[in-house]
């Protein structure tokens, strides 16, 4: 990559925006040159406009950038990451896409639109082929590409290597980290030494996004996977990392060894092309009987791999196992950045 690529972040002052800033800190291709937020923040430096909530301190390279309002007035770079809250994302993302920007969005708003790729680069890079239809139908010069919900991505990364065996039914129970709810997010009075067995709309997202992501691109549209998926989502007092217990039924009844081999050997385009944020092995199987664990494993591989363990027979479906992924990295900022890297490498940007 001979030339550095300027990027902007919409919703830059919020917690997801901060995660983008953090993840892009030393990115080999992308330079943050533009930060957008609400009118209240516009005109201030990022340092003034932002209460830094992540560990450590705000990276020096963004502190003095003057925050813009969220309108496509020509000053923003072509490639834009969207970290906006869902309550405001729809219109703003569309306005930028219409104005020719490539919107790589973490918001949920357009994920299930039939003409918007819900992209996990290792799994469904071919879904990017929805873009021409999206541009045609909407009359946009730009485009919107999305990444999944932070719990969905962990599940689909663990399932994707098994797609070859015919995924028929999936039951998953999540134990999700508090960082998944943003800031201020979950009140400590609700979660300290507690479990909250409910996360609004999360189960529905996991169930339908999984089918779309694992679906096939057929004749200009995505045919969802027909597997049935049932999710139960819980919040637990963990800082980062969504852990999940998964049971699956597979058409072809592979052996444990075949499943392990499929998981360990699984590589996608990000690995083949050596994209900068791609983990060398997207799924890492751990042999220890009590792993993966969020506090001990979530930071490994820069938070971009999914960890699986405890594969064993399920008395009800075929197999059960545990999966873990970093919800604010692989489930948010890192996912979007890898999407942008793929789009660049594949010539979509």
């Amino acid at each position: 990559m001979s030339e550095r690529i300027p990027v902007g972040i919409l919703g830059a002052t919020g917690m997801v925006g901060q995660e983008f800033v953090n993840f892009l800190r030393d990115h080999p291709w992308f330079d943050i040159t533009w930060l957008g937020a609400s009118d209240r923040s516009a005109g201030k430096t990022y340092r003034e406009a932002t209460s830094w909530r992540l560990g450590g301190v705000m990276p020096p390279n963004v502190r003095e950038i003057v925050v813009s309002d969220s309108k496509p007035n020509g000053a923003a770079p072509r490639l834009m990451f969207s970290a906006m809250d869902a309550s405001v994302a729809t219109e703003i993302e569309r306005a930028f896409a219409a104005a020719g920007h490539v919107i790589v969005s973490n918001s949920r708003n357009h994920r299930m639109d039939a003409d918007v790729p819900l992209l996990v680069p290792e799994i469904n890079a071919d879904h990017l082929r929805l873009i021409p239809e999206q541009q045609r139908a909407r009359g946009w010069k730009g485009q919107i590409v999305t990444n999944p919900n932070c719990s969905t991505v962990v599940l689909v990364m663990a399932l994707a290597p098994l797609k070859q065996f015919g995924i028929r039914r999936v039951i998953v129970t999540t134990m999700q980290a508090i960082s998944g709810a943003g800031y201020p997010g979950v009140a400590s009075m609700d979660i300290n030494a507690n479990v909250i067995p409910f996360i609004g709309s999360e189960e529905e997202k996991m169930e339908c996004e999984t089918q779309k992501i694992l679906g096939d691109f057929v004749e200009a549209r995505v045919e969802p996977l027909t597997a049935k998926v049932s999710a139960q989502c819980n919040r637990v007092p963990v800082v980062d990392g969504h852990t999940m217990a998964v049971s699956i039924e597979l058409d072809q009844k592979p052996t444990e060894a075949e499943i392990l081999g499929a998981m360990r050997g699984w590589r996608g385009i990000p690995q083949l092309k050596g994209l900068p944020s791609a983990p060398p092995c997207p799924v890492i199987y751990m042999e220890e009987q009590d792993r993966p664990q969020p506090r001990r494993d979530v930071e490994r591989e820069n938070g971009m791999a999914v960890f699986v363990g405890r594969l064993r027979k399920c008395p009800v479906l075929d197999y059960k196992f545990v999966a873990l992924g970093h919800n604010t990295v692989r489930g948010a900022a890192g996912a979007a950045v890898l999407n942008a890297e793929l789009m660049k490498a594949e010539g979509w940007i």
Copy 2:
């Protein structure tokens, strides 16, 4: 009950023993008159022999009881609760049963023995009819009766009202409290802000104990329920209360209203006889969308009820819901005390 009944506790100095002491604090029928422990503690007062680990301070009524060794030398009362660690329980429980004692045990050792009742008074009071065969086959004047593992009991209490609909398949994922592991139990370095996706032998216990408890007493033995059960057990940083996400398949395809009616209307012998430790409603269904929660609900009903919430359709099996119970009360000391109350009321003691 005109006369108070003396009771003893085997393994009285350990954490489960302390829970028995605590639960029996003001019991209307039972008086603790005897406390047994290892030779190391024998001869000391309970106060001297015990590091009190529960909230508050040791109840005054037991402080000056001199701890006995764990041999049936005639000094112990007939009714004995066993809070012993599984590593030592087998031989000691058998020796006391042989010597004529009624052993109401929380240990796992004899639970799956074909001639030992694995008792949940609301569910399978008729399993007590195993006792004559137990006494005959083993040549005992006394007897051993057990209660389930602390996670099993929560599941079976939630399932029992649904047995009438034909339970075919159950998938359960638990989020279990640290108190379930005793003291010192789980290291804080392992569980602080973490999830441990493994609890040794717990899944096997949940799977087989559930079948036995929900089984039918037929011709002097228990015919296990034929339903398939699959458990995934996790430790979470919660003090008391095992929460679980359950999916079930039922033969008769009841409506949601029928399931709710069955749970809410469910009563057993403890309720009919008004046993002192029986909760008025053994299963309490909560309407709030984010309940039950361990920290907020586990202490209700003296820890003796099981709380259920979030009943809804499961895209894979038929229904899914959340259940919660108090692992050291309904899952240990309270379970055993209710067993003893049932046995007294039914004339087995």
Copy 3:
């Protein structure tokens, strides 16, 4: 008490209001007959207007009370507890006091007013003698009486028995529970597995309230204690209970035995008169080397006693010790109720 006394709660739907509702659940003297809140809640039943945040479920006796707006229109009972947020308390409390109500307030707004008692019934019941002057100066038929900040009360309860020895200097570092910040209060992203070494205005409150509470009523006003007090306040991931490490310098250089005797023997008017919410011993000294601890001790004595432990020589001042109290009971609702009980018993209501 032959006749039950109707009471109202201002700010009833908030978390402190809920704590009042909870604490008054089975009160032998007081009946909740009136609940006030913002205009947004007025006209709804308490059940409709309130998200119940405490353990268990809303007490049945208040569920169907229709919430009133916060204006003194004659419908409210004479005795009113104020659980209002400080941002709105000043004007509303004054309006009710002017209209003849006895306002027993947990809000900080009037605590440091020279003519308002900052009352801890065991310590400074004579400060109630400020009321006639308050009524005269402000032209009120009613009155306002306050209780201290939730961390101050723990400190002053531990210090009060030592006042006889001449308190010269106090250094205190607190480790405060999350419930002290209300709801939603502290974000879990801020406090999970963390310490926040700052609580806004808390140190100033502890320093000046302590001097007022331990001051003497002299010639119609309170002469603050001249002791110097320095506080460092921290938030820790504990649900209920403020723990504090205290170092003190005393004029008269008592022995450890004299200090212990003073703490253990200390009784106030609430104990002498047997007020319903008074703990039999207001300060309980624990001998165990690692106590008191919030999770294990805070619920004892209905949350109304202060627990002290680890009294030992301080190499810098004279002595050091640890103190613990229940911040939402003795530090809020319970404190105000005990204030009202004292006022009733002493004829101020």
Copy 4:
């Protein structure tokens, strides 16, 4: 450094030993070539002998090293780090020192010996001059050098820049992380959502070690600082990082600006010589009103700096502030490694 230096670790399989292995993972000078443990582990590979408790997985470079018993039989390198438990450290460390090894120990056993340096390289590098006397008096060819207790080092790093102003009195209350107690260490039943206001011997260590470390090397011995120090030590549910609230009295009554200048400008030999593990600024003052915080700040600067915040007037002594440091890095493995780097750079190895 042209040539790499082989090092060994005594007590390598324990949690502190693992921290040494972790900290030395990519050290520019030192290569781990020898790992010692108890006879039970000797002969196994490090991988076989060790349950890896830290985040992630065991570094590959040590996995296949065969663990030795802890006897100085000539196979161990000259430079040895000691991570042994205090219960066994005394004799083994002495045997190795007698045999000519340089023992850089994290154990408490020899810290307060008059002829053993209790070293913090930024503060008292000249205390290394105790070594010749140590070797002479004990007849050793080798030597023992120690680092402070994990809470002491945070305090002394914050105090050292103020020594110039004449430290007269120090009162400190700590809030210490669970990792300070090793593994299994603190039971989760003790610390979950709790504070334990007691850590065995910790207060005494902080009080006397501080005086020794800040003392002057005068005529072949260390003259302890005469300041009075009083510590109250508490365990809180934090994974890594000891936070402390400090009040100090200083002879020369500096201004706040002078104190800040002293802290920020403070540099020691490790900084001047650019030792590999030296933080560029050993004390980092944070302006934010609610910092430092353990979860957010402890990993910064590779865990080798001490963070200070909230400097303000103390109504009792002169100033108060908050300090934070990484207890297993700057308070253990990192401290010892920096000691060894200093000793190498200064020609003691």
